[in-house]
Amino acid sequence: MKARIAVLLLGAGLAGVGAGHARDMAPAPATRDYASACGTCHDKGGFAVRVLTDRRGARHSLIHQRHNLPPEAIRTIVRNGMGAMPAMSRLEVSDAELTRIIAELEPARQRGSAP
């Protein structure tokens, strides 16, 4: 039997993908923007988490729990890249998506890890 699934456009109506499980600390933003743009490397188990654990310790390894990342720093790092992190183009993360991601990280940052 032939099983075909209708045409699917990525990015359309996919809220809930990558939804963060309850964690002790601030959860990762449960949006498609964050999950696809950042979460593949910056959520638990991701490569950037390992790099940041080695460099800055486990406490600072999850960006959504960092208290010392000003919005402008996030924007600069995303657009310029940093270390092994490649710069991301406006196709990968649009300015509007980046603004939304930064806004999502803001409250998490406020109640994030201890200083």
Partner: protein, 516 residues
């Protein structure tokens, strides 16, 4: 290398592009173009600086872009997602070329679950495909590469090799849709027939096969293609063995090559040296001074620290448990003729959580970290000649590679990938992009590896932008007869030379002057 004239991108052309596809998708600002530079490049003056980027949404917009490019003789460098780090990323070969970023064409347009096929557009990344298959609960696995940020289609078009039964990704790409430089849209294979249900099921059709002409090529823009996936196996049975000695690679190739040939082993076998793991650790300063190679005398201590052998042999079998066990037994018997060591085994069964590993069809990005091995401003470059799967040839290649790495003072990141009838020997070198002494040594080492391989008839099958002319020149049968055919074809199919000038050493007529 001759001085490359940097073509100015005309304002009229840019205005025309903005009119057709919207000004927000014609990128020219300094910050907009950062992702289109070669992040690992080191040549002073950046010979691969992009002139801008343009990102059509669909084939109609792509056709408009090609028309404007033809009118203005605007060179375009198509990229799917531009993540081929170590080979130039999204950057064009010729300075000033406009990057044609296909990342917005990001649909999975069709899935045939029963036959294990998806049809993807260029912007679909390995993470996208994985997320889609998981979300829709489709029991199919894609072959994943080490750096999974890239495009499924782009990786296959560049002859990417990787894990799993469909690890020869170019061979798994079946049935293409291609836009030619004049805007004509064609489908290859059975897709040349309207409404064929077999477009992505049979790799040939009637008459010449054009598919390979569009791989590593500047003859057209591939806008979608079928990708063969592996049906979710009942079980994955994995065997691992850490081989203590550098010299062990010879008998491993001798033992496994016949099993790859006979299909006992499914897909390519990737055997890496301990440095492949260690270089992702970020701990270099513990063992070496500055920009010099870690001395061989410290290797034993590092291997002990990481519990690694000189080579790591990892095999996986996919399918019915009985078949997997039979395959594992044949492999173990072949290995037992050379060592008393036993394989460590592990298995994954359908329904278990998937390990975060490309061998199990799960994307990863961790290998990107290797770029940071030498410094936060690092990069890497690879040379991977194709050899016959012959013990002596591999032993001698590793020994000569090691000598050249020592001579140029680089850590040897080495790998051996066995295919059904060939071997790729991966030689990767990591450097600090800002250190002129080190990048000079990297360039000399790359050229020494290439020249050495050429004297034995071994050629590279992919390369960084800066070496495309050099590698193309090593393919010299009949006084470079294939190069002449490629040039003839380029002039016929792309008379204005708008697509990817310089890619794989192929230049349009007006830029060919003065090149050997």
């Amino acid at each position: 290398m001759p001085e490359i004239e940097r073509p100015a991108v005309s304002q009229g052309a840019m205005r025309a592009l903005a009119n057709e596809i919207g000004s927000e998708w014609v990128l020219t600002g300094e910050e907009d173009l950062i992702p289109y530079h070669d992040a690992y490049g080191f040549t002073p003056g950046d010979p691969h600086v992009p002139g801008g980027a343009v990102a059509p949404r669909d084939t109609d917009e792509l056709r408009a872009v090609l028309r404007i490019a033809n009118e203005h003789r605007l060179p375009l460098w198509p990229v799917s997602r531009g993540k081929n780090y170590g080979y130039g990323g999204a950057a064009p070969c010729m300075a000033g070329t406009l990057v044609l970023d296909l990342g917005r064409m990001r649909a999975i347009t069709d899935v045939d679950v029963a036959r294990g096929v998806v049809v993807v557009e260029p912007g679909v990344g390995f993470f996208d495909l994985f997320d889609f298959l998981e979300r829709e609960k489709i029991p199919l696995w894609a072959s994943m590469p080490g750096n999974s940020l890239g495009s499924v289609l782009g990786n296959a078009l560049e002859y990417g090799l990787g894990y799993g039964p469909q690890g020869d990704r170019a061979a798994s790409l079946v049935g293409m849709e291609v836009m030619l430089p004049d805007g004509a849209l064609i489908r290859t294979g059975m897709g040349a027939m309207d409404a064929s249900p077999c477009w992505n099921l049979f790799p040939y059709s009637y008459g010449p096969s054009w598919d390979r002409l569009f791989m590593q090529s500047s003859f057209g823009v591939v806008t979608r293609a079928g990708v063969w996936l592996t049906p979710e196996p009942e079980e994955v049975l994995s065997l691992s063995m850490e081989l203590p000695n550098e010299a062990d690679i010879g008998w491993v190739v001798e033992a496994l090559a016949p099993l790859c040939l006979r299909g006992v082993i499914q897909g390519p076998v990737n055997i890496g040296n301990f440095m492949r793991i260690v270089m992702g650790s970020g701990r270099r300063a513990e063992w070496a001074d500055g920009k010099h190679a870690i001395p061989d005398a410290r290797h034993a201590e590092i291997m002990a620290d990481f519990k690694l052998g000189w080579w790591g042999l990892h095999l996986s079998f996919y399918g019915e448990p009985d078949l997997n066990r039979a395959r594992a037994r044949v492999v173990s018997e072949a290995i037992a003729r050379h060592t008393t060591q036993q394989f460590a085994t592990s298995s994954w069964k359908r329904g278990d959580p998937r390990p975060q590993a490309p061998s199990h069809g799960v994307p990863i990005s961790f290998p990107l970290r290797i770029a940071n091995w030498i410094s936060p401003n690092g990069g890497h470059l690879g040379f991977s000649p194709v050899l016959p799967p012959d013990r002596q040839a591999i032993e001698q290649q590793i020994s000569r590679s090691r000598a050249l790495f020592r001579q140029h003072d680089f850590d040897f990141y080495g790998g051996v990938t066995l295919g059904q009838r060939h071997v790729n020997v991966v030689n990767m070198l990591a450097y600090d992009r800002a250190d002129a002494d080190m990048t000079g040594r990297a360039d000399r080492l790359f050229r020494a590896l290439m020249d050495d391989a050429k004297t034995r008839g071994f050629g590279e099958y992919r390369s960084h932008l800066s070496y495309m002319d050099d590698v193309a020149r090593t393919y010299d049968f009949g006084g470079h007869a294939l190069h002449r055919l490629n040039s003839w074809m380029k002039d016929a199919i792309d008379p204005n030379g708008i697509l990817a000038p310089g890619k794989q050493g192929i230049w349009p007529a007006h830029l060919r002057e003065g090149r050997p």
